[in-house]
Subunit: 408 residues, 2 copies
């Protein structure tokens, strides 16, 4: 008998019929002899409806009251799911974040979980009940309702799994697992049986938006095995856990890509100490997040400095950079919004030389010009022209043997 935490997102509980369907999935686990804690989000559309009401009243609604407002969304779902379980003869009890003491700091609308009082949940599980918990919400030290920020239900599930030392935390979504890359780009993309936390973090932050990054970090930190599954289709999903020594690790687990970036370059900057800070300081001060950063020293005592930002931030960043350029006496500033980033991710590359060269070879064979390169321990990213996205991803998917195996 295992203890399982299951989390169902807004789409999975989008209407009464889907909530009934979730009840059936919970019952399958109960019938298999497992203890189950279920974490649910608001019914899809509900959070936006509530935010819309607030927007009618104020452009900048009071954050404390915002949390009181939007936390009602999950509260509706926990009640309905518990009713559906009770109706079927499976005793269930719902809890809001306040009731189950998901204690957070007081950073309204983006609170962080401090700790969870697991005694209440444990008592219900011992009494044979399914425990249904409102995701995304908590309570601060003085009893104010808080929310964890959008998508925080994943974090609630992982936190509960960690506090109760659950055997597995299952995140039900509208996809049936983590794929080697986006199947819309590479139809032969393969569902991964397993992936490590580190790989998943790289995949998630690079645009494979299956899981919230924070919840993956959290699961890694507390060593909670995470499983991504589909709410609508049966299957084993993808298990996210730590690397096992005995497990034969493929060199590359997957290929992530990101179409949302833009690239900015400042050329011919007199090369002197502090140049990087002088360039990025004003960008960061404007709350613009920077992703890749590359600096090359030129021959004439000047340097070229390139970085990428989200495309939405491009016009603002360009304006700042032009001002910086004048101040630093740089030669020129230019940018490009028609680029994409493609990344190979895999813990296996740690111990395998030659991944980078194989990557560059595969791209070169297709005549794809690489505009930027950036590497980390388990990831190599390149920036290429937007038009090469599909071609590049497919070439790499094939070069690294990620295709669907006939035997699977």
């Amino acid at each position: 008998m295992a203890l399982i935490v299951q989390k169902y997102g807004g789409t999975s509980v989008g209407d009464v019929e889907r909530i009934e369907n979730v009840a059936k999935k919970v019952i399958t686990a109960r019938d298999a002899g497992d203890d189950v804690i279920v974490v649910v989000s608001a019914m899809s559309g509900e959070t936006n409806r509530l935010i819309g009401l607030a927007a009618q009243i104020s452009e900048h609604p009071d954050p404390r009251e915002m949390d009181v407002l939007v936390s009602t969304g999950e509260q509706v779902t926990i009640a309905l799911l518990s009713m559906a379980l009770n109706k079927r003869g499976y005793p269930a009890r719902s809890y809001t974040g306040t009731q189950v003491h998901i204690r957070t700091d007081s950073a309204f609308t983006k609170a962080r979980i401090m700790d969870i009082d697991e005694a209440k949940v444990r008592a219900d599980l011992d009494a044979g009940r399914v425990v249904v918990v409102a995701g995304f919400q908590g309570v601060d030290e003085v009893g104010n309702i808080t929310t964890l920020g959008r998508g925080g239900s994943d974090t609630t599930a992982v936190a509960l799994a960690a506090a109760l030392k659950a055997d597995e935390c299952q995140i039900y979504t509208d996809v049936d697992g983590v794929y080697t890359t986006d199947p819309r780009v590479v139809p032969s993309a393969r569902r991964l049986e397993r992936i490590t936390f580190e790989e998943m973090l790289e995949m998630a932050s690079l645009g494979s938006k299956v899981l919230q990054i924070r919840s993956v970090e959290f699961a890694g930190k507390y060593n909670v095995p995470l499983r991504v599954l589909s709410s609508f289709k049966d299957g084993p999903g993808t298990l996210i856990s730590y690397e096992e020594q005995t497990m034969e690790q493929p060199v590359i687990s997957g290929i992530a890509f990101n179409r949302d970036e833009a690239k900015l370059t400042i050329q011919g900057v007199p090369d002197q100490p502090g140049v990087a800070f002088n360039i990025l300081g004003p960008v960061s001060a404007a709350n613009i997040e920077v992703d890749m950063i590359i600096q090359n020293v030129g021959a004439d005592g000047t340097t070229d400095f390139t970085f990428t930002v989200h495309r939405n931030d491009y016009p603002k960043a360009l304006k700042i950079l032009e001002q910086v350029s004048r101040e630093l006496g740089a030669r020129e500033v230019n940018g490009d919004t028609s680029i994409v980033k493609i990344s190979l991710v895999g813990v296996g590359m740690r111990s395998h030389a030659g991944v980078a060269s194989k990557m560059f070879e595969a791209l070169s064979k297709e005549g794809i010009n690489i505009r930027m390169i950036s590497t980390s321990e388990i990831k190599i990213s390149v920036v290429v022209d937007e038009k090469y996205l599909e071609l590049g991803v497919r070439a790499l998917h094939s070069a690294f043997d990620l295709e669907q195996k006939a035997t699977e």
Copy 2:
């Protein structure tokens, strides 16, 4: 500087514009120097929407979960109203029933308030904040969310007013006060400046559905002055308080009526001890509420027994009575659903003889036949044919001088 509790029902907070309007009313009181606690209901339609969701899942949803579900309705309103006040520079803070410790028993969907921890509210008031409390809900000893049953927001307001010894509890509704009778029946009906708790109880239970009976009882018990006002129209409303000795009390305060009753008679019952119980026992066992009861002893050692029930319960009550009739060897059973009850209410009738005879005279002058009579200390009720309702009420309204005064 007074402490005022204001309560706004679902219609008064039915949309964002109306919530903004409530904020303005609260601000008027603040600007006048008063401390204000506001109790609000769910936006009109919201509670029914939530109940509809539950009904899709189960015919008999778990009562505990029902309360978790419907209590979200008021939670939305408190957040929105607090935002509207904060936006206007009037600091406000919202509280759910759980947060402000409106402690109730555990009778889900119809809980009763045990006590209120006023410290939190007092601290906010002292800090110059408006306190916005979710009506209709509370929390039991172990932290379960409870609701007080439909319309319970009035009770929340009165309970808060009692706990904090407020100077007045103002109930904002869609009428501008309590009238001598229904203005749709008697256009010259007059708004009462004042009415006593006892009179209000008789008026409310007789069909003038301005206030919830329970909240009037509660206000009377804790001597909380209640004022009924309109959310949509300025005016002093009607003050409900205890009778003041110095106040010249009119004999009759108002005329209530009820179109929802039906009358049942069992005739020729052998008159022996226990006959009333033998007849009403089975009716009450079927959860049918009985209003008026009259028994006359006949000449032949038998008795006639008549009572009234809600029209919805009539077919069920008739069936039971036919069974009882056979068992008791009664002569016959008959009933009538085309009746109405008209009642004169007034604490003044305690000390004035002749109210009953004046009433009967006024009805007789119009040729209205009285089918039943029942009296209490401050009320006389008669049952007449449905068709005489308007005529009867108008005749009495005029006979007892209740018309709008030209000077008012």
